[in-house]
């Protein structure tokens, strides 16, 4: 088995999930509570990775990161390296590709919190931020957990975007799914089967764990 690729995939999935949580909390809060008329446009953009072929997304990302784009030039002048075919470029692509898997469970959970509880907190002198931390987030833990797990699992399994943006550089951008593809191309079915089985097992265990937690969640707050 290609342990290097497995380690890289896990690391990428972890960083992507953390970055998505930091980015996702404020964005999901805005989507859940904003009354802007053009909110639907943002919702559509966030959901795009669900329907776009990964190659299309990857293509645009590659263009956006290239040395001729403003982003690519800015990155190069700051860090002295190019984004495409690097781990950092792969991370950015993963974050965008898994965005809806974090945002949608979060936004749904936030929106499901009873407005009266939020207003009660305001009337008790707590700011919007502190109300979020003390009321909305604790009551949305199931949605937050779902977002974390789905983002992690989805990043672990991505293929098309990685191929487009990351290429296939061992130790830098070769993830598990690429490794399996390589092995199959090289007719090495035995190691491919072992790696695939590992990925299948990990994905199943993570999802089963999440759904079990959600099923057994004690909800003393289901009032009336």
């Amino acid at each position: 088995m290609d342990w290097e690729a497995i380690r890289l995939s896990l690391w990428l999935a972890t960083l992507t999930t953390v970055a998505l949580l930091i980015l996702g909390l404020p964005l999901a809060y805005w989507l859940a509570f904003s009354r802007r008329r053009w909110k639907f446009l943002v919702e559509a953009v966030v959901a795009m990775p669900l329907v776009l072929p990964p190659t299309v997304l990857g293509f645009y990302l590659l263009m956006a990161m290239g040395p001729r784009s403003p982003l690519g030039r800015a990155w190069e002048s700051l860090f002295g390296s190019t984004l495409p075919f690097s781990f950092e470029g792969l991370l950015i692509a993963s974050v965008l590709y898994s965005l809806p898997f974090m945002i949608q469970p979060l936004a749904a959970a936030f929106a499901a919190v009873d407005r009266g509880l939020i207003e009660a907190s305001w009337c008790l002198g707590e700011s919007r931020l502190r109300t979020f931390l003390r009321v909305i987030a604790p009551l949305s833990w199931a949605g937050i957990l779902t977002g974390l797990v789905l983002s992690f699992a989805h990043t672990l399994g991505e293929f098309g975007v990685v191929l487009m943006v990351g290429g296939n550089l061992p130790g830098r951008t070769r993830t598990v799914s690429i490794a399996i593809y390589d092995q199959v191309q090289a007719m090495e079915y035995a190691p491919a089967a072992r790696t695939a089985a590992l990925l299948l097992g990990v994905s199943f265990l993570v999802l089963a764990f999440t759904y079990a937690l959600r099923r057994h969640q004690r909800k003393p707050w289901t009032l009336i």
Binding site: A120, W122, C123, L124
Partner: protein
């Protein structure tokens, strides 16, 4: 009147309806202002305007000299900056927090020690000892109500807003808590605005009444004055047609109370928990009129009051007779009965009502 809260604000909605919050309350000490009206009349919206949860788009709200809201100057203080206690109708206790944590939720500016002391006070005051670690879902309706009230009181706010505080409770708890609530509010010495659609609750808890209908404030003022002199038929309809007068409880024995109203004394069934003062509610249908007021030969009615007819108003097949028997009293009889007795304005008659038909509401 030295007004403490001066509200003259309006909130309009896209469908063309509007709710106005136009009344004043004295301050800053104890007083209970009741927002009263049928459901859908905009009472809760008025409370939300006061709390800052709704933004007024016309007029202003001033409290203790501070502009809470002023649409012309674009001023709108958020709820956090108004220092008030709000008890929503559905309580909205934080379901993931214990009773203690709910009570202490708004006390972040206090030290841990001060907070513990304050929570302890509230637990004692509201009879919540032993429930400290329960979640709201594990409490009865009455217990939830007390926790929600305690949470609103915890920060010692300058204004208390109570939205139908007793409506979620069963009938016996309502009756018990009504009396306790007014006592509690008096002890705390905080001006309170209370929403209700229950007339008995309004009379028992309130000092001042704001009558609302279809988003409009129809009348506001001292509770007795409003009941005595409704300014228009809409107010009279909302208040109901009964005579409502304040009386002094003279004595209570064997389930019967003697109450003096003006120069008259009235015998009524004792509703329990009577103090010094009470409101008497008497329906016009329950008041009979007789010529001559000698001792009765054979009737079960316990109250025979000498009265003078001040006005006669036909209402369909009925006649509304306004009487003065030491206090104003309304009687509703058939027109035929009125004709048979040749009743006319200025006549001396006898008003007769059964003790069981006098509805007493304690009000101290």
């Amino acid at each position: 009147m030295d007004a403490h809260l001066i509200s003259d604000a309006q909130r309009r909605y896209p469908d063309g309806t509007a709710v106005e919050a136009r009344f004043q309350i004295p301050g800053p000490g104890f007083s209970v202002t009741v927002l009263f009206g049928p459901s859908g009349s905009g009472k809760t919206t008025v409370l939300r305007l006061l709390a800052g949860l709704e933004r007024a788009d016309r007029g202003s709200i001033h409290f203790g000299g501070t502009a809470w809201s002023d649409a012309d100057r674009g001023v709108h203080l958020p709820p956090q900056a108004r220092d008030l206690g709000f008890l929503p109708q559905a309580y909205h206790l934080f379901p993931h927090l214990s009773v203690t944590a709910n009570l202490g939720y708004g006390l972040v500016s206090l030290t841990a020690r001060e907070r513990t002391v304050r929570i302890e006070e509230l637990l004692l005051l509201l009879d919540l000892k032993g429930l400290e670690d329960r979640r709201p879902g594990e409490l009865s309706g009455g217990q939830q109500q007390r926790v929600a009230l305690g949470r609103a009181l915890a920060r010692r706010p300058r204004l208390l807003l109570l939205d139908e505080p007793l409506s979620a409770l069963d009938r016996p708890s309502q009756l018990r808590l009504r009396k306790e609530l007014r006592e509690l509010l008096r002890t705390l010495d905080i001006p309170t605005v209370l929403v209700t659609h229950d007339r008995t609750e309004a009379l028992q808890l309130g000092d001042r009444l704001v009558v609302m209908d279809q988003g409009r404030v129809c009348q506001s003022g001292d509770i007795q004055q409003v009941f005595d002199r409704p300014t228009d038929p809409a107010v009279a309809r909302i208040l109901g047609v009964e005579t409502v007068v304040r009386g002094r409880v003279e004595s209570v024995s064997e389930g019967m109370a003697t109450v003096s109203v003006g120069s008259a004394r009235i015998l009524a069934a004792d509703p329990g928990s009577l103090g010094q003062q009470a409101f008497l509610c008497i329906r016009g249908e329950d008041v009979a009129v007789e010529r001559g007021c000698g001792p009765s030969s054979g009737t079960t009615a316990r109250n025979r009051l000498p009265a003078r007819i001040t006005a006669l108003h036909p209402e369909g097949s009925l006649m509304r007779i306004s009487l003065d028997c030491g206090f104003p009293l309304e009687s509703l009889v058939t027109r035929q009965a009125c004709l048979d007795l040749h009743l006319a304005e200025g006549d001396q008659v006898c008003a007769i009502l059964k003790a069981a038909a006098v509805h007493l509401i304690p009000h101290d």
